[in-house]
């Protein structure tokens, strides 16, 4: 009993059966040209073709193979009409198994193999005589003895120390609005670099000298979200755009170790180390972070309302009063200068598997972590 055909019978209308000759055909039909000339003299190969075992009409065999191949390719491409058509096509094809698989045409390109031609290969892509073929060309940049370009130009420190410079990944207001609109970032909670990383809005690489995120004013005209956001640097117009919508913006410094912990908290918690304290900014950044105009986290809090008014006057908008806001408590949440996470103080150990937080009790440790 031919199970293949009867299975199909039960669940769909019987397919037109292929002629019996093809269903019992061998995998590779013998070619009559080659078989006929073996062991015989030259002469008429055509007449001798009748001597060998009757091969299949090459038209039929080739037809099935080509049809199968074309159909499989069409199924991969989508059947020309989309998913449902391709699936309908698949139902009419032979069972897909390990012997039927092949990559899409053009996917596998065989590599170029040099020096494998007739008579032991020819020039193998090396050219004709000279240094090119003999492989004795001088080094790159050599100009025949003339002082080369890379030596004649004098040095200047354009890129000196470039690999040690701080980098701040730009975050546009447009992207922030996009993330909030899609629900990836929650504006009812303080927005931190951790929230932005969890939302995959930015990708920070602390090991590549990234020191955080800078807020950029692209999209300031369409920005309309009230958020409490903490970034590392922000331009004036970006600060104005956020405050115009009733939000709060702060700039804070994170040293590389704290930044790595902030961006990838889970691997840090699994290490079992206590949360370290955030280090203070280096000398050249102290000025930036103590300035109320940049909304620095080390600035005097009493200077900030003046700075907000000044900015409102400069850009010409009415400064909304956030103390009357229902989310005022959330909007006024700020981190301590030594704190990395909201709600977690330095010195605490987070145990994720047992869902516990361990706090230090030793006096010296408490004094160290609260300094």
């Amino acid at each position: 009993m031919d199970t293949h055909y009867t299975t199909r019978h039960l669940t769909r209308p019987p397919l037109p059966r292929s002629p019996p000759a093809l269903s019992h055909r061998p995998a590779r039909p013998p070619r009559h040209g080659r078989v006929a000339t073996v062991g015989r003299g030259g002469g008429s190969g055509g007449r001798k073709a009748t001597r060998c075992s009757p091969p299949l009409l090459p038209l039929q065999a080739g037809c099935v193979r080509q049809r199968e191949r074309a159909a499989m390719a069409a199924a991969s491409r989508g059947g020309g009409g989309g998913g449902p058509k391709a699936l309908e096509l698949l139902r009419a094809l032979p069972r897909v198994s390990l012997v039927n698989l092949r990559p899409n045409p053009g996917a596998k390109k065989s590599e170029k193999r040099r020096g494998r031609g007739r008579h032991g290969g020819k020039k193998s892509g090396r050219g004709h005589k000279g240094q090119r073929q003999r492989g004795t060309r001088p080094r790159l940049g050599f100009e025949g003895g003339q002082t080369p370009f890379y030596l004649i130009i004098p040095k200047y420190g354009y890129n000196e120390g470039h690999s040690r410079r701080r980098q701040y990944h730009p975050l546009s207001l447009q992207k922030l609005q996009y993330l909030i609109d899609l629900g990836r970032v929650d504006p009812t909670q303080p927005i931190d670099l951790t929230q932005l990383t969890n939302a995959r809005g930015v990708t920070i690489q602390p090991l590549k000298r990234d020191y955080g995120v800078q807020l950029v004013e692209e999209g300031a005209d369409i920005f309309s979200a009230k958020v409490n956001i903490e970034v590392q640097m922000a331009s004036e117009l970006a600060i104005a755009a956020i405050e115009k919508n009733g939000g709060v913006i702060t700039t804070g410094f994170y040293d590389p170790r704290s930044l790595e912990i902030l961006c990838k908290p889970i691997p840090f918690f699994l290490r079992g180390q206590p949360i370290p304290k955030r280090m203070l900014p280096p000398e050249d950044l102290v000025r930036y972070y103590t300035d109320a105009r940049n909304r620095g986290y080390l600035a005097n809090p009493s200077n900030i309302p003046e700075a907000r008014l000044e900015l409102a006057k400069k850009y010409g908008y009415v400064l909304p009063d956030i103390s009357k806001d229902e989310l005022f408590r959330m909007l006024s949440t700020r981190k301590d200068p030594r704190q990395i996470f909201f709600g977690l103080a330095p010195g605490w150990v987070v145990n994720m598997s047992e869902k516990k937080i361990l706090k230090p009790t030793d006096e010296r440790l408490l004094r160290y972590y609260s300094s």
Binding site: T3, H4, R12, V96, S97
Partner: protein
């Protein structure tokens, strides 16, 4: 599959199951197939001998996109060899009706074969072959060709120039989403080519392997069957498949494209279908990984 289902419903053999569920009372007499049925398949089918109870209907737990509808498959049972239409299962189209990418099946099957391969072939170069430090004869005067060592590649017994060098690993990893898509395409292919069967459970009346083999042959399941289950498998089926060569029992975590394509038929339980849908659909709408998946994620299925 929906068309097949609707066609079968229209036949008398399946219509009385509907009537039974509507009435909630089991018909004790053996129902007669309606005379208007003309398809050869239904004439070959006998009506089930067991008392039909309420049909098992399975809905998709996960949301289906609005532009697509679920694909359907019959739910069968292993309790009796006639239990072929115990119910109807809705399968998620993004797992069981994806684009039939045969080239992805090829990619994943080739990867499965090769990523574990370590070829241990190693041959010695002229430096490693024992001997060959001394110049065999003087440069000039002997009349023979000039040679520096008896183990040069020109010599018999000499070293091999560009032979296999040491254990070579052919390890590479395909992106996770490609492997997931491979599983989806394999499941789709099996379903569309009528080689996928859903079973409500793996409860068997006996542990006789012959019973299982006969059941598979009666239901035209094919030469080889792969049965997949998530939960702990009952003893009967484990004993039955232990001695059978062509019927394999596999936990759901061990499901892979090579095994699916190697076996002619795939049999999944309803729990396995739910498990696979949950695991395979998660990758469609997930963020890129921040840290490796072996570290905890809150929504990792």
């Amino acid at each position: 599959m929906i068309r097949a289902g609707s066609r079968l419903w229209s036949r008398g053999a399946a219509a009385r199951a509907l009537a039974t569920s509507a009435g909630r009372l089991g018909l004790t007499e053996a129902p007669v197939p309606s005379p208007h049925v003309v398809d050869a398949a239904s004439q070959a089918e006998k009506p089930p001998l067991v008392t039909p109870s309420a049909p098992v209907l399975r809905d998709c737990c996960l949301a289906i996109p609005s532009h697509r509808t679920a694909v359907q498959a019959w739910v069968e049972s292993l309790r009796h060899y006639e239990d072929r239409h115990v119910g109807l299962a809705d399968l998620h189209p993004d797992v069981f009706a994806v684009m039939p990418r045969v080239d992805i099946l090829h990619t994943v099957a080739v990867w499965q074969r090769n990523y574990k391969r370590i070829s241990y072939a190693k041959v010695k170069t002229r430096a490693e072959v024992r001997g060959g430090g001394k110049k065999p004869w003087a440069q000039k005067g002997s009349g023979r060709a000039r040679h520096g060592s008896i183990r040069s590649p020109l010599w018999r017994g000499g070293g091999i120039i560009h032979g296999p060098r040491g254990p070579t690993s052919y390890y590479y990893m395909l992106p996770m989403k490609v492997r997931v898509l491979g599983l989806k395409v394999a499941l789709t292919t099996k379903l569309m080519q009528d080689n996928l069967h859903i079973v409500d459970g793996l409860d068997m009346p006996t542990c006789d392997p012959q019973y299982l083999a006969d059941l598979a042959r009666y239901r035209h399941w094919g030469q080889s069957v792969l049965i997949v289950d998530v939960n702990k498998m009952p003893e009967n089926i484990m004993k039955a498949t232990a001695s059978l060569k062509t019927i394999t029992l596999v936990p759901a975590l061990g499901l892979n494209v090579h095994s699916i394509l190697k076996h002619e038929t795939l049999v999944l339980t309803l729990d396995t279908v739910a498990f696979l849908e949950e695991k395979l659909l998660w990758h469609d709408s997930r963020y890129t990984a921040l840290h490796p998946f072996r570290l905890p994620y809150s929504d990792f299925p």
